[in-house]
Amino acid sequence: MAAIGKSKAGLDKNNKYDRQLRLWGDHGQTALETSRVCLINASATGTEILKNLILPGIGSFTVVDGHKVQGEDVGNNFFLTKDSIGQSRAKFATEYLSELNEDVSGDFMEEHPESLLESNSDFFSQFTIVVATNLCERTLLKLGKCLWEKNIPLLICRCYGFIGYMRLVVREHRVIESHPDNAHEDLRLDRPFKGLVQYIDSIDLNTMNKKDHSHTPWLIVLYKYLQEWKEKHAGELPKVYREKNQLKDIIREGIRRNEEGVLEDEENFDEAIKAVNTALNPTKISSQIQELFNDDECTNLHSESSNFWILVRALKEFVENEGNGALPLRGTIPDMTADSERYIQLQNVYHEQADSDISIISNKVHDLLVNIGRGGNITDQEIKTFCKNAAFLRLVRCRSLEQEYSEDSDKLKDLSHHIDDEEPDDVIFYVLLRAIDSFYDKYNCFPGWYTDQVESDVIKLKTCLSKLMHDWGLNCMIKDDYIHEMCRYGASELHTMSAFIGGAAAQEVIKIITHQFIPFNNTYIYNAMKQTSVTIEL
């Protein structure tokens, strides 16, 4: 809690940020409060993104925008007013955005990103992440190249009529705390560790009084009857449905009866029977974790390896040696019907094994640091968090813009699967947006921008689209309806579209900054006509 103190207004930050601290914790908040975010272009979408980052308390933001405010900007942007028309959009937006949270410092640069990239591309080196809105293709590619070389994440956002678009460009994003929604428990009933065996062996169900019997944690009940089953089946676990039912029957036999022979109400036995389906999954290493172990970054550590890869390597060595093919124990058990004493004892048994696994890995980490000659420490807390999340580690590597825009990209050829259909999916709008960019490149104007040119622009856009699809080697058709609809939009940026992308983009930025939760990879399309969306890697 050390990092969380008083806010400028004297408000307790624990209080002010309470609702989000419950999601990403104090350490997530600290990461947020030390981050520096750059926004290119204070469009409606741009300011909405910043709003949703300033409210939860990023460290600072910088708006880069060379435009003067126009009447239509004030129409759809909450952070501009009528008085600002004709003046610097960067300046006014920064002022209004800054009012949202006095603990965030705001700055602006009244300059077009094109010229900034020419004159001072090092300017961007200071940022944790750059968010770009409403940039033309040419500038975007330049910016993408510059940031890729500097290894700074870039999030591109755009709202076009009823279509929202985002593209994340990050070389390598590592997530330890991915917070999976429905994670399996890590109980090791299939390969019990010594401490667990010893503890359960010390308990005898048969000699217990009635109360203790019905308050024995199901984990112990299931383990006991599982041993019975294994003895009869050459040490194997029940695998198929029929075998699991047999085990359930054996457990059911264990329920006590009263004097009249009627079954007692033993909730713990009911829970044990239910758990046969879920708690006997064999302990194994997921393919995602296996991939990390096989990654070059893991196998070839060097003096500049990041903490993450050193930890992954230590984890791998643990799995191959002390772990006997298993990850370190997570060390937690779910709540279950039980008396306090034995539940806590059982919890401690798991806890102690987890601690012992962590200390082995900790030793490996320190040895590795010495061996590769890397300075800097990896804290015990970091190692502990890593071990507890070992099953949920995630790595996101995005393709660069350059790769995406290369004409011989296989990903572009694959697009036909998405669009060559009576009911094409929302990926079709990616192709249409690319066609609109070629239109803009050619005519310096968006199709349908002027009401009296909508019809003629439909024909021109169709030509741009055909050429694009030909260049990509796509032999499918896109219905004229879609081309008409895109021309109807005429690059309109409806505020509610900006607000949607503003929320979604901000959350992706928070994921990148905190290294918690999993960002999308790498292109996201939102279709507000149907309220549907799709993610595709391009």
């Binding site: 949703n52 129409g75 009528k82 009823f162 039980a338 008409h484 929320g503």
Partner: protein, 437 residues
Amino acid sequence: MSCDWPGRWCHVQKFIERTGPFAHPDFEPSSESLGFLQETCKLLIIGAGGLGCELLKDLALIGFKNIDIIDMDTIDVSNLNRQFLFRPKDVGRPKADVAADFINTRIPGANVTPHYAKIQDYDESFYRGFHIVVCGLDSIVARRWINGMLVSMLQYEDGELQQESLVPMVDGGTEGFKGNARVILPGMTACVECTLDLYPPQVNFPLCTIAHTPRLPEHCIEYVRILLWPKEHPFGEDVPIDGDEPKHIQWIMDKSLERANEFNISGITYRLTQGVVKRIIPAVASTNAVIAAACSTEVFKLATSCTVPLNNYMNFNDTEGIYTYTFEAERKEDCMACSKIPKSITFSESDKLQDIITYLQESAEYQMKSPGLTTNIKGKNKTLYMPTIKSIEEKTRENLKKTLSELEFVNGQELYVADPTTPMTLTFKLSLGSNME
């Protein structure tokens, strides 16, 4: 309009002055549509919290001028991480008032009317005054109540629904990184009661766990909240727990720690204590922004027909990538709110009145909160149980223990049920079995 300037509405106008292949069949592109949004159309936003602030901004910026907003709450410090119309100086003031002031000042021409009130304070004549109702609520009970109100306003002629009596409801909800947005056309598409099973039932720890076998820090906190507080009255007789009063939370935390230590349970913190006591649901700006935006887009579609509205439910979750799932929730043929079919319930003569009440509370279909029952016996109205008024509750309490035969119920007995979840009185037909079972 005097407060307009060139280009102000050009983003909006492209949608309503041009047609397209995906427009609603009724759509007529027209320069007058903007006038309808601005001058005629009246919206009601329910809730001025995380979603409400966003909804107000979104709807005002796409051309709606006449907006009422209703909320019974005042501003708390913990709102400031997402309810962006509020500043530290506003803490303690009514949310609806501050939100309305902010928008009326920032957006020229906006005419937002605040109501610092409960939705139950207003009747049908108030709700009839709106073209569309938009909800940004965190309470399922309130959502069910307004749903019931809009359904009760429907008028039928010869069994035909009168379209002008229909007020569409656009509803958003969020929790952490999850949210949903839906469009309800009362009487035509699935209503809140049709899909009650989409809301997860509230999880409570069994009392015996709390009292005798605590295992989690939460069990210890619940012990102090439910059992110790009413016994010890730490801040005086009749002082209820105030989850925003640090002294109260501190006391509960200290006592919980004592209990936890007794059982060797670890993990009690101030944050956890407050979370359990207040049943806090995590919330961030981003999810509220997303859901409010989707809802506002739907309001825009309903008001302009520029595109076909959502049919009719969208789920959102951005913990792993960004995920949306859109589907058509189906009407329930015998929905207790919108089907007009009287519900039938079956009990036996030896069952007690309490059994009926428990059933109404616990069945997944009804999930009532504190039902009050009246009936008609031999031509006379009779109050069976009324929990809301203390004096009547005391007088009718003994009925709870009576069997249905003692209460002189007959087969086909009509029971009239009132509950905070609905503004209507619901009629249940009792099918009464003998004592065979």
